[in-house]
């Protein structure tokens, strides 16, 4: 460390213990008084630590008086001066930043599948929020292909599926997700799906009972009541209106209220023109012919049966069912006797067939 002499007391002190005030060098004890004098004289009072300008302030290389370059209050050697003016980025830093950019580029390429799945997930979520559950399902199903363990994806898919009546998809997603386990079973999203799932199951149990009751003569009203309860619990049941109408048609048939039976059958045909609804109208028209003898009903019944066969499009199961129905319908038209299927089975097909 260099030695300097105080301009006030001429004492020699080390550079580290000296101060500068208005271009003069002072030792520690003298500088406060000098500062007070400068202040009362209206001069600037800026006391700084003494900087030995004969050595480089950065690397301590001796540069002599007037050597190097002055930078602020310090004097630097040429090499340090250049470095200070334009500090270089170290080589390792440049390589690291290049590596970082490469990593980022790789992340974007590697992550394309995730971005697509994520986009589908958010699109699906937005559609679910808008109540467009059926439209949301294809997006959410696409997400679940890549991420079957995503809690959010599974719950959204199950919700969209259940609220659009697709119980099968909901079951697949929920069972395929960590064996049905979710991270947080207290979340409102989870509780909502749980409630919907429970409702759907209860509804299907009731419908199962209703189907069994419907096959028994005299239980039509009870079957229809269970079907109505099922739809009330789970209104998203596919073709719920059609299903209820079919049970109500059974009730109307049992009460011999053939006008209501025909009206319901025609309503369903209007809603869903298909082989099944065409056969229903054919059956109702045959009943109307049986009680009225009006041949128009008979003619229309036969026409609707022909249409039902045509709409079966060669489906064997549907054609077999229609063949069974056609036999009973022909009996109804020719005998003008209205009997239930089980009564017909007992009368003409024997106990063995009736049990089927």
């Amino acid at each position: 460390m260099s030695q300097v002499s105080c301009c006030e007391c001429s004492k020699t002190v080390s550079g580290g213990e000296a101060y500068e005030l208005n271009g003069k060098v002072y030792c520690g004890p003298c500088v406060p008084a000098a500062a007070e004098r400068a202040e009362s004289a209206g001069q600037p009072v800026s006391v700084t630590r003494y900087v030995d300008k004969s050595i480089c302030a950065r690397c301590n290389t001796y540069i002599g008086d007037g050597g190097g370059i002055e930078v602020g209050n310090a004097r630097l050697c040429l090499a340090c001066s250049e470095r200070v003016q334009d500090w270089p980025y170290p080589q390792w830093l440049k390589l690291s930043l290049a590596g970082l950019l490469l990593l980022l580029a790789f992340a974007l390429i590697h992550g394309r599948k995730y971005f697509q799945a994520g986009k589908d997930l958010y699109r699906g979520e937005q559609l679910v929020e808008k109540g467009q559950f059926k439209d949301a399902l294809p997006y959410l199903k696409a997400t679940m292909k890549l991420a079957p363990n995503s809690d959010k994806g599974a719950l959204l898919t199950a919700k969209a599926a259940l609220l659009s009546g697709d119980v099968q998809t909901a079951a697949q997603v929920l069972q395929g997700h960590n064996n049905g386990r979710f991270e947080n079973s207290d979340k409102p999203e989870f509780l909502e799906v749980k409630r919907l799932w429970s409702n759907a199951n209860t509804a299907f149990e009731k419908l199962d009972k209703a189907t069994k009751l419907e096959a028994q003569d005299g239980s039509e009203a009870e079957a229809a009541k269970l079907a109505h309860e099922a739809v009330a619990i789970y209104p998203q049941l596919p073709y719920a209106n059609l299903l209820l109408d079919e049970y109500d048609e059974g009730v109307a048939f049992a009460k011999k209220d053939y006008d209501t039976y025909l009206a319901l059958a025609e309503k369903d045909w209007g809603l869903v023109p298909a082989s099944r609804t065409a056969a229903m109208i054919s059956s109702a028209l045959a009943c109307k012919y049986a009680v009225s003898g009006d041949s128009t009903f008979r003619q229309r019944s036969e026409e609707m049966l022909a249409k039902a066969k045509e709409m079966a499009n060669g489906d064997k199961q549907t054609l077999d069912r229609l063949a069974e129905f056609e036999e009973r319908n022909r009996y109804r038209l020719e005998s003008r006797q209205i009997i239930t299927k089980s009564a017909y089975d007992q009368k003409f097909r024997g106990a063995k067939n009736a049990a089927k």
Partner: protein, 180 residues
């Protein structure tokens, strides 16, 4: 709340420290300020620093002080975006995604400028703000919030900021992206 020595945190999140100091250096060079010394990482407090000349140019002061905050935040969002979907939303086991999340959070955690940087800004801003300097007007509330957050480091405000930026940033990006 638990205590982990700052040096351990700095070591675990060293990319953030390096990026922070690089951003300081970048803006010093951009505004042609003399740089006297740079330490990109060390086991000490602070974990890194850039010693540069002072300036009267407020724009330079603003970017040199707050540049690392902006750069670290931006890089945190970018890296966390690359990892956000597989880690958070899709729950896919992808080690690369976890690596990106660590990188993103490490960078985000070191976004806060030091109180020394902020104090320079805080002193110079009011006079310029009165004259209608937009950067000065912007820097006043920003500096105030950042000073508070800086003190909040003892309760992991820096980690909280990293997580918030690393989760909310990508979430906003993807939600906007999904609307397109």
């Amino acid at each position: 709340m638990f205590f982990i020595p700052g040096q351990v945190i700095a070591l675990l999140t060293f990319p953030g420290v390096i990026i922070h100091e690089t951003a300081h250096l970048f803006f010093c060079k951009l505004f042609k300020l003399k740089v006297f010394n740079v330490c990109f990482f060390r086991f000490g407090n602070p974990a890194g620093y850039v010693i540069h000349e002072t300036t009267e140019n407020f724009t330079a002061m603003f970017f040199v002080s707050l540049g690392p905050f902006m750069i670290n935040t931006l890089l945190c969002v970018i890296f966390c975006t690359a990892a956000f979907l597989p880690v958070w939303e899709l729950q896919v086991t992808d080690p690369l995604a976890y690596f990106y999340y660590w990188l993103g959070l490490s960078i985000g955690m070191h976004a806060f400028p030091s109180t020394t940087d902020l104090s320079h800004l805080w002193k110079a801003a009011p006079a310029l703000a009165k004259k209608g300097n937009l950067l000065a007007i912007l820097s006043l509330p920003l500096s105030a919030v950042l000073v508070v957050l800086n003190y909040g480091r003892v309760i992991w405000a820096d980690l909280g900021y990293g997580i918030a930026v690393g989760v909310l940033g990508p979430l906003a990006i993807f939600r906007a992206f999904a609307r397109m």
